[in-house]
C-alpha cells in the first residue's frame, strides 16, 4: 500500500513550506539584530581586530606597519617590569575607585535615604556639582589645591604647624591624590544613581517588614539591599570597567603620569605610547591586554553577581 500520490505531494509541499517557515523563523531574530551587529562589528570588533594586527608591527600613526615584530611583542610586554608596575598601579586605582566611587556613594545614599525632600535636594546639588563641570576645568582647580608652595592643602598643614607635602611628586601619595580627584568628579553621579535605586524599593515591602517587627537595620539589610542589587551591580560594573577612564583626565592634567610613571595606569600608558611617543604597535598591544583583562573581569562579574541579584519585584 502506497500513499495516494496527490496526498504525498501535498505532504511534501507542506513539509517544504514548513521548512521554509522554520528557516524564516530562525532568521528573523538575526534580521532584527543585523543593524546592531553591523554597528558593533564596525565600531567594536573591527577596531579590536585592527588593534591586534597593529600590535604585531612597529611604527607610528602614519606608517603603522613599518617592521614586523610578531607575537614576540606580547612576550616582551608581559615580561616587562615597567608594564607589571603599570598593572599594579591600575589595580590600586581600581581599589581606590571602588572604595570612593562605589562603596561610599551607596553608603551615603543609605544614610541620606530618610532625610527630608528639601535636605536631599541640597545633598544632590552639592554632590552633583563636580559632575557637571567640564573635566579639564574641574581638575585644574585641584592643581591649586595641590600646589606645593601656596596650595590649599599645604596652607592648612602649615596652619597646624606641619611640614608641607609635595603631593603630586611623592610616589607614595600621588595615586591617592589623583584618585581623589577622579572620585570627587564621579561621586555625585554615582550617589544619585544609588539614591534613585534605593528609593525605587516599594514602600509597601518596607512597611510590611516594619509591621512584622523588623527594625531599620534589618529592613535595610534584608529588604532594601537585596532589591537594590541591580543598581549596585550597575554601579559596580561602571566603576570597575570605567574606573581607569575616570582617572585619565586627572592624570593628564595633574601629573602627566609622573613622577617617573608612578601615577600612570593601563589606559594612560596606552595614550602615552600611542600619542606622545607615537609607538602605535606597543600602544596597540597594551590595548589588547586591556581588552582581555577587562573582558574577563566583566564576564566574571556577571557570572558571580547575577546569581545574587534579585530582579523581580
Amino acid at each position: 500500500m502506497t500513499a495516494h500520490p496527490s496526498l504525498a505531494h501535498r505532504v511534501k509541499q507542506l513539509s517544504v513550506a514548513q521548512m521554509l517557515a522554520g528557516v524564516g523563523n530562525r532568521l528573523t531574530p538575526y534580521l532584527y539584530l543585523a543593524p546592531a551587529l553591523f554597528f558593533i562589528g564596525l565600531f567594536v570588533l573591527w577596531p579590536v581586530a585592527r588593534a591586534f594586527y597593529n600590535s604585531l608591527y612597529d611604527g607610528n600613526l602614519l606608517f603603522p606597519y613599518r617592521e614586523y615584530v610578531g607575537p614576540e611583542r606580547y612576550v616582551d610586554l608581559l615580561t616587562n617590569e615597567r608594564f607589571h608596575q603599570i598593572l599594579i598601579q591600575s589595580a590600586y586605582y581600581l581599589v581606590l575607585m571602588l572604595a570612593g566611587a562605589f562603596a561610599l556613594p551607596i553608603l551615603l545614599a543609605i544614610v541620606t535615604l530618610n532625610v527630608t525632600e528639601r535636605e536631599i535636594g541640597i545633598f544632590q546639588s552639592v554632590f552633583f556639582l563636580p559632575t557637571v563641570i567640564a573635566a579639564n576645568i574641574a581638575v585644574s582647580v585641584w592643581i591649586w589645591f595641590y600646589n606645593p608652595t601656596g596650595g590649599l592643602f599645604n596652607t592648612v598643614l602649615k596652619a597646624f604647624g606641619a611640614e608641607p607635602v609635595v603631593w603630586l611628586r611623592d610616589k607614595d601619595l600621588v595615586i591617592p591624590a589623583v584618585a581623589l580627584v577622579a572620585i570627587w568628579k564621579q561621586f555625585g553621579f554615582h550617589y544619585l544613581i544609588a539614591l534613585a535605586g534605593l528609593k525605587s524599593v516599594p514602600k509597601d515591602l518596607t512597611e510590611a517588614a516594619a509591621v512584622d517587627g523588623a527594625n531599620n537595620r534589618t529592613i535595610t539589610r534584608r529588604v532594601i539591599l537585596p532589591l537594590f542589587g541591580p543598581t549596585a551591580l550597575f554601579l559596580l560594573v561602571i566603576t570597575l570597567i570605567q574606573g581607569l577612564e575616570f582617572t585619565f583626565v586627572p592624570i593628564e592634567v595633574l601629573t602627566g603620569g609622573g613622577p617617573a610613571g608612578a601615577s600612570s595606569n593601563l589606559i594612560y600608558s596606552i595614550y602615552q605610547e600611542g600619542f606622545r611617543t607615537f609607538r602605535v604597535g606597543l600602544a596597540s598591544a597594551q590595548s589588547v591586554v586591556l581588552i582581555v583583562l577587562f573582558g574577563g573581569l566583566a564576564y566574571v562579574q556577571y557570572r558571580m553577581l547575577e546569581r545574587n541579584v534579585q530582579y523581580d519585584r
Binding site: 600613526l61 602614519l62 610616589k171 609622573g258 617617573a260 606622545r276 607615537f278
Partner: protein, 434 residues
Amino acid sequence: MRRPKYLLKFAAVHLILALCIVLPLGTAGAQDPVTIEYWNINTDTFGGPQVEALIASFEEANPNINVEPRSFSEYQVLQQTLETAIAGGNPPDVVQTGYPYLNYVGTSLPYVPIRELVEKYGGEEFLAQFPQNILDIPVVGGEQIGMAYSLSVPVVYYNADLMREAGLDPDNPPQTIEEWREAGEIIKNELGIHAIVWGYEQDNWTTQGFINSAGGDLLACVDGEWRAVFDSEEAINGMQTWRDLIEAGYSLDASNEEARQALLAGQTVAWVHSIAARAGIQRDADFDLRATVYPQNGDNPVRVPGGGNFLTIYSQDPAKQEAAWKFMQHLLSPEGFTEWTIGTGYVPLLPGLTEDPAYLADFVAENPIQQVGMDMLEKAVTWVSFPGPNGLAAGLRLHEAAELILSGQESAEVALQDAAFEINDLIAGETCSG
C-alpha cells in the same frame, strides 16, 4: 546627407565657444585666493596677539592669500594632532615644531624640504640673510627640513624686592650655584621661602642645562652610532647639585607652572626660565622684576640648550606650498622678527636687528631683561633631540630619571645609569657621523 556635416560644424562652433568661456575661467581659478593653515603654540598669553598681527600684515601685502591660525596649548598636543591630520590626508601648511621633535619629524613625517621650496619658488636671497649655523639648526640627515624660527635661552628672573628684604643686594645677584647656595641659606632664614627654582617638563630642557653646565653631555657619537652618555661623572654631579639644592630647601621640585606661581606669589626669590616668557612675566609681576645670567656650576662653562621652535611646510598642493613659503619668509623677515621679539622675548635670528634703530635697538636698550637673554646667546648649545622612531620615548625616560632624582627616590648615579642603559637600547642602531 548634408545634415551630419551641418551638425558637425554646429558642434565644432559650440565647442570653440565653450572653450572661449571655460579657459578664461580656468585662468581666473588660478588667481583665486589661497587659504593656508598656520599651526602654532601661541596662546593669547604667549605670542597669540603677535601671530594675529603678523598674519594681518602678511594678508595686507598678499591679498590673495588667507592665513588661518590654529593655536595649541603645547607642542605635544600640536604634534599628535598633526599626525592625525597627516594620516587623514589633510595636513596643515605651516607648522611650528619644538626642537625636541626635530629628529622625529625629520625621520618620520612628510615635510617639504627647504631645498625643494627654493627650487620651485625661489628664495635664495632670503636664505642668504641667515648665518649658516642658524640654517643648520633644523637639519636632519643632511636635509634642511624647515627654518629655525624661535630661539630662547634660560635666564634667572628674580624678585628684587624680596632680595632686598632678605638683606641681599639686588644689583649684584648671585652668579654661580655656590653663590645661590649661600643666598639660599640667608633667604631661608630671613624669609622662610625658596631662593631659586628650576621648573622642568618632559622636554628635558632644564635637565639638559644642568647636565651640560656641569660638563656632561646627553648624547655622543661613538663608533658611528648615537649613545646616551649622561651617566658620566660630570652629568651625575650636575643632577646631584640640583637635588642637593632642593633637599636643603633652597630650591623646589616643581613644574614650570608651579615655579611660575611660586615666583609671582613671593614663594621663591628667583625662577630660572626661558627668555621667551619675558613679556608674560613682566605683565604679571607686581614687584621689581629683574633678570640675571644662568648660574655657573664650579669651574665649568655655562652651556644651556637653545629652546624654541622651527617652521616646517607640509602642503602638497603647489599653490598652497608657494603661499606657505611666502608666509614663512614673512615671519622670518626683519619686520616679523621685530614683532615677534617685542611680543614674546624670543631672540631674533637675523643678524644686526638688535643694533638697528629701525628694528630692535631701542627696545633692547630699554629692556635690560631682554639684554640678559641676548648676552646668554653665546652660551647656547643644541637642544638634544633623541634620534630615531624611539627618540620621543627615549626623551621620556630621561625625564623620568630626573623626576626620580629630584623627588629623592633615587640617587643621581643610579637613576642616570638606569636611564642611559634603557635609552641606549631604544636608540640602538641610530647612526651618526663625527
